[in-house]
């Protein structure tokens, strides 16, 4: 049963589904931050862990790294590299959330919305981040790119020509 579960989890189609979902999550998470960089800078400042001169720079750059790596994950380009970029960001987010929880900071997560009243941070915020992290690492380790846009298109092209895959 465990073997069957492991086989199911590592099935290329399932892993591709995980990859696309992870990419979509990161694209969605970046949109509000890109639209409202000042609010996102406030969100970062609320964590009180980063020296303030660096906050704006991170608030400007981070959402674009999220959206680009999210888009590349969805399309299946440089899968392993982008899954590692996303996982790296999730490690940083998790540590930031953990320290905020340990210090009892009454702040919002800033994960999907920059509205300070949107998502009040709880332990579940951390759990969700760790789940996403596991998700990202799984994609990095297991996705061989069989269902990437490039692979699917080239298969379709080969089939159109009548050559065997």
């Amino acid at each position: 049963m465990v073997k069957n579960f492991a086989r199911g989890v590592s099935h290329p189609a399932f892993v591709a589904l995980l990859r696309v979902a992870l990419g979509v999550v990161f694209i969605v998470a970046s949109l509000d931050k890109i639209q409202n960089p000042q609010s996102f800078a406030d969100n970062i400042a609320n964590y009180r862990v980063m020296p303030y001169p660096m906050i704006n720079l991170v608030a400007v750059m981070l959402p674009w790294i999220e959206i680009v790596s999210g888009f590349l994950l969805v399309t299946g380009i440089w899968i392993r590299a982008n899954a590692l970029v996303v996982s790296g960001m999730l490690v940083v987010f998790s540590l930031a959330i953990l320290q905020a929880l340990l210090r009892n900071l009454d702040i919002s997560c800033g994960c999907f919305s920059t509205d300070p009243a949107a998502h009040k941070m709880t332990r579940w915020t951390l759990y969700w981040n760790l789940i996403w992290l596991w998700w990202g690492i799984s994609v990095a380790l297991l996705d061989q790119g069989r269902y990437s846009v490039v692979a699917v298109l080239s298969r379709a092209k080969r089939q159109g020509r009548g050559t065997p895959a």
């Binding site: 960089p37 000042q38 800078a41 406030d42 400042a45 609320n46 009180r48 862990v49 020296p51 303030y52 001169p53 660096m54 906050i55 704006n56 720079l57 608030a59 400007v60 750059m61 959402p63 674009w64 790294i65 959206i67 680009v68 790596s69 590349l72 440089w78 392993r80 590299a81 982008n82 590692l84 970029v85 210090r103 900071l105 009454d106 702040i107 919002s108 300070p116 009243a117 009040k120």
Partner: protein, 166 residues
């Protein structure tokens, strides 16, 4: 080894291109952020966005010594030790660390809290006043003109005169 080298290069390309794109768009767009934040922002808590109210030095002088008025020096310990408003307690403002709860508790007895610093624009005391308000303290004010303004207005102090006083 070859594969991991390739992945590192890909990661660098993704991060570099995304960052470059972000910087260009930030430069071009209306309302782009200055890349270096000039001063610590007021941090906002989920539903308690607030900040202290400004109090002029003359009004603060009237309040000084009255029962229930607490004075908080938000400057660094060294500045406080050099000289401070008579009767003030030292609670240095730090952008990275929240005010410790044990420092807030004694202030709960005060009816009115006046925070001061040394800066001309009183930024540090304004931030500290906001922070104390967020911590649940009421009637928190920050002193216009800081320690210098206080001494110029003839307020009592302990130790040296503030820098900039002639």
């Amino acid at each position: 080894m070859r594969e991991s080298g390739k992945i590192i290069v890909q990661i660098a390309v993704v991060v570099a291109l995304s960052s470059a794109l972000a910087l260009v768009i930030n430069e071009v767009r209306k309302g782009g952020l200055p890349l270096v934040m000039p001063f610590p922002p007021e941090y906002r808590c989920s539903d308690q966005t607030t900040e202290g109210l400004v109090i002029p030095a003359k009004e603060a002088l009237r309040q000084h010594g009255r029962e229930g008025t607490a004075l908080v020096d938000a400057r660094a310990k060294e500045s406080y030790e050099k000289g401070h408003i008579k009767g003030a307690i030292n609670l240095p403002y730090s952008f990275l660390d929240a005010v410790p709860q044990e420092a807030v508790e004694p202030l709960r007895k005060a009816k009115r809290i006046i925070v001061y610093c040394n800066s001309e624009g009183a930024e540090r005391s304004r931030l500290m006043a906001g922070e104390l308000s967020v911590a649940g303290l009421r009637d928190v004010w920050y002193l216009q003109g800081g320690f210098l303004g206080w001494v110029k207005a003839g307020g009592p102090y302990t130790g040296q005169k503030p820098e900039g006083y002639e």
